[in-house]
């Protein structure tokens, strides 16, 4: 890589961008519009509530009382599973992220504890969960919080140390907050993909690429310049989106180093795909059509607009093969839940994908007119 060459390209791209007012407007206004329209649409939606699957093997008054407490205190939407069902199988079939099992003998243990005050009796509730969902840790947190409340009430002594989690959990999650990271991931994808395809097909058609092939610029320099340029645009539009989100909906999101990391991986992946598309299409129109064909399903199937849990099982399976899904989930894990482990896992997946696409993009970018 030659930094001078990449720098020269960047200067030309940014100047062209700055001097083309419609492109500038589109890059900034389009994401803001999305945030405003959808944010307004969802603003009055209730606080986010999580689904919780509960299998009550005890089937007694005490156990249903516990389920009610979870519903009320944890603000869960409880889905009851028949005792005859295999919980593990159910989790897999229904793509539910967490199943809580109340064991047989719950009421017996409960009464023994209450009536006889026997400190040795306890009951073990089982969580069966799927790590790949970003919501699962949230649910476990809430469950633990509700349970510790119950435990404490039963001992009758006020707690000495109050967990910091208590205050965090008291926080309300709003749908808008869930929505903003998805829109960021999606806008960065759209801008990178269409920006790259448009720029490269135009330059190819005008013969600029042919001229460039008689200069020392390499394909790697060229793609890196494209990536850097799109990343700068991504920073610009994301900043605009965040400002609008804060101003219009007073969202509460955690902005940390994961945000630029996921933006960069998003850009890498979709600039790479843009390069590959440019290579395999002859005309600008078919290139744009191919970019549409890739980005539209991605937008709707990868959970940009709504939590994947709201979608049927097979669609959740589809989502997991879409690169944008990992950007969505990674950004949500870091921006909403502060879950760095989940962010790391998602960034690894999209990182590998971006690297592969980047290399394919370099191979696909050919300077020569023909072979």
């Amino acid at each position: 890589m030659n930094p001078r060459v990449v720098g020269a390209n960047l200067v030309v791209s940014l100047k062209s961008f700055y001097r083309a007012k419609p492109a500038m407007f589109f890059t900034i206004a389009f994401p803001i519009l999305l945030i405003l329209v959808f944010g307004a649409l969802f603003m009055n939606q209730d606080n986010m509530s999580f689904d919780l699957c509960v299998q009550d093997l005890d089937h007694t008054d005490s156990s249903s009382q516990l389920v009610k407490t979870l519903e009320l205190e944890g603000k869960f939407k409880v889905i009851r599973i028949e005792p005859s069902v295999n919980a593990a199988q159910y989790t897999r079939d229904n793509k539910s992220s967490l199943v809580l099992t109340i064991p047989k003998g719950y009421e017996g243990a409960f009464l023994q504890r209450m009536a006889l005050n026997d400190p040795d009796t306890s009951v073990t509730l089982t969580y069966l969960y799927d790590l790949s969902s970003s919501l699962v840790f949230m649910k476990i947190h809430i469950l633990n919080w509700v349970f510790s409340g119950i435990n404490q009430k039963m001992t009758g002594v006020p707690p000495f140390i109050r967990s910091a989690e208590t205050s965090m959990l008291a926080r309300k999650y709003r749908f808008v907050e869930f929505f903003v990271p998805g829109i960021i991931a999606m806008s960065v994808m759209i801008l990178s993909l269409f920006g790259t395809v448009h720029l490269n097909t135009e330059l190819r058609q005008k013969g600029v690429i042919r001229k460039l092939s008689t200069t020392p610029i390499t394909r790697t320099d060229w793609i890196l310049s494209n990536i850097l340029y799109q990343f700068i645009l991504a920073v610009l539009s994301t900043t605009a989106m965040l400002l609008v989100s804060y101003a219009a909906f007073s969202v509460s999101l955690q902005i940390n180093a994961w945000l630029p990391v996921f933006m960069l991986l998003d850009v890498f992946a979709f600039v790479g795909i843009g390069m590959i598309i440019t290579h395999f299409t002859k005309e600008a129109e078919s290139a744009a059509a191919a970019a549409n064909a890739i980005s539209f399903p991605m937008m709707f199937l990868s959970g940009s607009f709504f939590p994947l849990e709201m979608m049927p099982g097979f669609m959740q399976t589809v989502a997991r093969i879409l690169p944008l899904y990992y950007v969505n989930e990674g950004l949500r894990a870091s921006m909403i839940f502060g879950d760095h482990m989940a962010a790391l896992r998602h960034s690894a997946v999209i990182g590998v994908f971006a690297a592969v696409v980047f290399i394919l993009g370099i191979i696909a970018t050919q300077w020569e007119e023909d072979q």
Partner: protein, 316 residues
């Protein structure tokens, strides 16, 4: 290091196929260092294909092309910094100014020492330095393209139809520019379908038709060996005049409905033709006698005129 070649360019049995189409058919020629070499031929003859194989934009199907003694298909990295290219229909970034564009290309070549203002002066774009590319006229765009081709101070320049689409004045300016470059010792490889351009500029002309070189040499030698006659052009609105000329047995072609071009061996023939027309009481608007040019050479060799557009439109 590369060996010093006496020829800047050596082409041997160069062939290029696009599927079934044989665009360039077994070309062999050399270009001497410091000369202006013109590839002259009509649209679709294979000029762009040939020049773009030599300047490393395209790959040949077969044959060998050496630039500075290096194989163009293997030594692109070494060759590119030493050549300057003006591709056919040159185009650049719409919203970037003249000066910025030259700066950009100079950075690609990592030439910190390019005399950008000097280049701007050379191509006479001084009062347009801050003009964006999209606002330039065709002639200015071509001149900018030539300036860009010069940012790395190349030894060999490739100019693919540098004056196509320019008005006569702009064309004249580009010609002067090329002569200036030759004076600086640069080798210029030029393609054109303008006979006057090749005749005026080139030290060596290669006439190409349907992918084959059909004649090569200095313009004077080509004319001398292929066209030892005079060209008489008669203009008339009287068909009788044309009938008379045709009946006299001279080789002739109609340029259009008013003009007829006649090949005559000597001035006496002109006298004879004029006398006969006068005796036949046919009327003439004008007449013109000139020495033959490359156009006539091309006509003689191919039976076609240079400016005839081939069916299927203009090729790239």
């Amino acid at each position: 290091m590369t060996k010093k070649a006496e020829h800047a360019i050596e082409v041997e049995n160069l062939t290029k196929r696009y599927g079934d189409l044989l665009a360039v058919n077994d070309l062999s020629f050399n270009v001497r260092q410091g000369e202006i070499f013109a590839l002259l031929g009509p649209n679709g003859a294979g000029k762009t294909t040939t020049v773009e194989i030599i300047d490393t934009i395209r790959m040949p199907t077969s044959g060998k092309v050496n630039l500075f003694g290096m194989d163009v298909t293997k030594s692109k990295h070494e060759i590119v910094p030493r050549i300057g290219v003006l591709p056919q229909g040159f185009s650049s970034f719409d919203r970037i100014t003249v000066k910025e564009t030259i700066q950009y290309y100079s950075r690609l070549f990592s030439c910190g020492n390019t005399d950008i203002d000097g280049l701007i002066e050379l191509v006479n774009l001084k009062d347009k330095t801050r003009e964006q590319y999209k606002n330039l006229s065709g002639g200015l765009k071509q001149r900018l393209g030539i300036a860009i081709a010069l940012v790395n101070d190349p030894e060999v320049l490739f100019l693919d139809e540098p004056t196509t689409g320019l008005d006569p004045r702009a064309r004249r300016e580009v010609w002067d520019l090329m002569l200036g470059l030759k004076e600086k010792g640069k080798t210029v490889f030029l393609t054109t379908h303008y006979m006057e351009e090749a005749e005026f500029l080139a030290d060596t002309v290669a006439i190409i038709s349907r992918g084959k070189i059909i004649a090569m040499g200095s313009p004077e030698a080509l004319i001398e060996s292929n066209a030892k006659y005079l060209v008489l052009t008669l203009r008339s609105v009287d068909e009788k005049a044309f009938d008379i000329v045709r009946k006299m047995g001279f080789e002739s072609v109609h340029d259009n409905h008013k003009d007829i071009r006649v090949r005559v061996e000597q001035m006496d023939d002109v006298q004879k033709i004029l006398n006969t027309i006068q005796e036949g009481r046919a009327s003439l608007l004008s007449l013109d006698v000139r020495k033959p040019n490359l156009e006539d050479v091309f006509l003689k060799l191919t039976g076609e005129t240079l400016h005839k557009e081939p069916a299927g439109g203009v090729a790239q």
